[in-house]
Symmetry: C2
Subunit: 546 residues, 2 copies
Amino acid sequence: MTTNYSPQLWLYDTTLRDGTQREGLSVSIEDKLRIAKRLDQLGIPFIEGGWPGANPKDVQFFWQLQEDPLKHSEVVAFCSTRRPNTTAAEEPMLQAILAAGTRWVTIFGKSWDLHVTAGLKTTLEENLAMIRDTIEYLRSQGRRTIYDAEHWFDGYKHNPSYALQTLETAMASGAEWLVLCDTNGGTLPHEVSQIVQTVISHLSLVIGQETMTMPQIGIHTHNDSEMAVANAVAAVMAGAKMVQGTINGYGERCGNANLCSLIPNLQLKLGYSCIAEDQLTQLTEASRFVSEVVNLAPDEHAPFVGRSAFAHKGGIHVSAVERNPLTYEHIQPEQVGNRRRIVISEQSGLSNVLAKARSFGIELDQLKAEAKQILQRIKDLESEGFQFEAAEASFALLMHEALGGRPKFFEVKGFQVHCDLIEGKQASNALATIKVAVDGKNILEAAEGNGPVAALDAALRKALVNFYPQIATFDLTDYKVRILNGHTGTAAKTRVLVESGNGHQRWTTVGVSTNILEASYQAVVEGLEYGLLLHSQAAAAVKASS
Amino acid sequence: MTTNYSPQLWLYDTTLRDGTQREGLSVSIEDKLRIAKRLDQLGIPFIEGGWPGANPKDVQFFWQLQEDPLKHSEVVAFCSTRRPNTTAAEEPMLQAILAAGTRWVTIFGKSWDLHVTAGLKTTLEENLAMIRDTIEYLRSQGRRTIYDAEHWFDGYKHNPSYALQTLETAMASGAEWLVLCDTNGGTLPHEVSQIVQTVISHLSLVIGQETMTMPQIGIHTHNDSEMAVANAVAAVMAGAKMVQGTINGYGERCGNANLCSLIPNLQLKLGYSCIAEDQLTQLTEASRFVSEVVNLAPDEHAPFVGRSAFAHKGGIHVSAVERNPLTYEHIQPEQVGNRRRIVISEQSGLSNVLAKARSFGIELDQLKAEAKQILQRIKDLESEGFQFEAAEASFALLMHEALGGRPKFFEVKGFQVHCDLIEGKQASNALATIKVAVDGKNILEAAEGNGPVAALDAALRKALVNFYPQIATFDLTDYKVRILNGHTGTAAKTRVLVESGNGHQRWTTVGVSTNILEASYQAVVEGLEYGLLLHSQAAAAVKASS
């Protein structure tokens, strides 16, 4: 940690440990390293990397970080207290923790008497010994420790004096942070506030009687009551100095406290400095990056960083927003690296289309036919089933077209797709042949693929890659099909959303047809087109700035 | 409203008005009526149905409800105050409100001076006149009124005396509820608490000086700071008696206060009665029903009602949870109609598989080979890319198979799928032929479809529907493809998740292959199988109880 780093609040990220408990989420070691590096850039002081004693993958992770350390953040190894009726020195899990080579270690221990007696099946005294022994041992090995008081609030409610004893024990053993964990996620903010205040007063009294350093208080919340962020804020306002959470609120059950909501609330609204201002502007991108790495769709409606967080729908106040944003937006989206969006929908009026064009850097004259034309085209397409809100790339191409400026990178002259699946024989690949013209030159290519869409996509790229080498960096990253009007009795339309990426950006294009292959073809072709458009815009921007 | 209904808090649902502002959401009149009926059953006293003056669809909606009224809930028409410089009696929008024929009307008005002068471009005095005139007019026409103070908290912060004047005006005009709206969603709970208390004291003083009935205070929050629920709870604890929100938190930008989190918090934790106990047990189903009707995927990680809300992962404490649930769960899932789930994953141990089997009603003997066999099969399949967490129906079938009890509804003997897509000609449909055996009898059928998967699905159903007429009620409701290992360089596997439904239940099945058609085929066949299994289980249950 750089020595001049002194935030008012210490952020502690557990995306790589608690976050990975989320159902359906599973990350490789490389994924974890990529995320850790990004959190380092974001300015998060503590990054809980995993539990090397329990997860073999984590042993590797920590080892890699010893070889190639982070620049600023402290990476933290996580572990439980030693088991009952042994010593910390003889506990193999703790050896794995030491081998991880981190300066800091987080130890979690039981705060709730019931968990000790019924869960661990040991005595209340032994649990205190486990806490003391583990922390003292780690300190003797040169580690700085954070103590996570598991099930703190419920434990306190059921047996406050025992719960406080566990904290006192951790404190007396030299833990530098005592983190109160709402492990079940059931506590409410007013309770958190009152209990945190009680803890701080109580410990101050105890400290007063001994010669000890007062540890600082941290808070670790879960979202089972939709209060994780509110609880963390309540704790901070009651004196906690560390907040634990995850990017995008990933975690078990309903998730952990979402750092992407917490940080802007604490820093922009309550004035606690956590990370540098320019690091805060990276928040939205960090959120999307992490969702990308763990292969989860980003939550478009997430506070602060969601794609819809500053999306204004309905013609009524769009012009009012542009004139005076803070009367309709609670913060400036740029402060967290997000941006205002004007949503085009059935209810859109002309002002929405104009605003949207502006957001793509296109100035439309209100009186010109283009604007009305675009609006009409959108309405027509939407009534056919196109959904531009989810396919901004297709919308952008539509606008360029209406303005007469849609670049003609290629022209598909014809194609054919053939697929067979015969049970009992090995399933054959689909085969696509495509004829494309680039700069007046015809190219005929054929390709196989795992299915008709993949075959078409492969043939198209094969045909184009010599003219547009950047295509080699494009990937089809996702493919969604939604069946429209399924219950109307008429032929159901299929809407296909294809997501493409080039390594650092993703874009979505849409196709609609009663035939899924036709719909897929539309979306795939537009996906390539948009990728080429982005590339040419980036090249032009570089040229302009040199 | 039944006269003996006297909750301690009044719930006000705006799913059908504010909720529909969510990006990508669009509902038909029939959809709105279905939702309204469900909310009625749930016991929600106020249902804001729409804005008939602004939305033609809503005129129809209210008219339908006059013909076929709800049993208990009050349906409410929503509207703005009259425009400046006219009279309420001459305002056409208000005529539409009256035509809606509701007993209650909600009027929203400006609380923030800036919105009045810069937005509405009128005077502060005229705005007060608009509030007064509109409410008095509606009352003269026999309507009971609720006043929504738009942008209340920001308006109060910027010009408290004017904001309070708008409330006093509404109160003096006879509004029965004054709802403080955090329209920008930027307020924090401690601010809400303090401002609500201030409002209540202030109005009590004013009341004391006049002969007026004290209106009650309501709260309407948005989730831009991830505080919508916390803010609503803070307001209630400060004296508010009405909470406004939406099912699943649907709404513009980051959504409205989520009633599915609010109601259990208020009722189960804070002891405010809102709806009947047995109605609360319908909450989870109501949440899923609404998401189904609006065609949005349910949020699996939603507090209280999410599929993962009580999902326990990791072998460690699963046995502890079963012995003593309240030490690991903040409420009993059954209280909101949800259930505990044991998650099977890479980290699963034997105890997880046993617990999961139990949740499907299957008792496995710990020592028997089946349990270990299932675990091994799961691990093998998962390493190939199957993801059972998202495809519980496939998992259930796997378990039945391992126990030797997987019913053989049909056996696919062979099939062939052929599809052509020739640009320039009309895209032809895909054609599938299938040979199936049922009870030893062979059936050969062919069918066309909008694509290879649809054709296979259609042919299979055609072959089976005479034996299993219930198949006619099954629908393919969604189809998702995820490309696995896209960046490893080896042949990418494709995972297909197929969601099927029978009108009141949905289930997901999975298929994995390098060939998308093969993967789709697996998922489709299991989807039909599971639907038939459900049907036979339901039939057996009916028989058993008669």
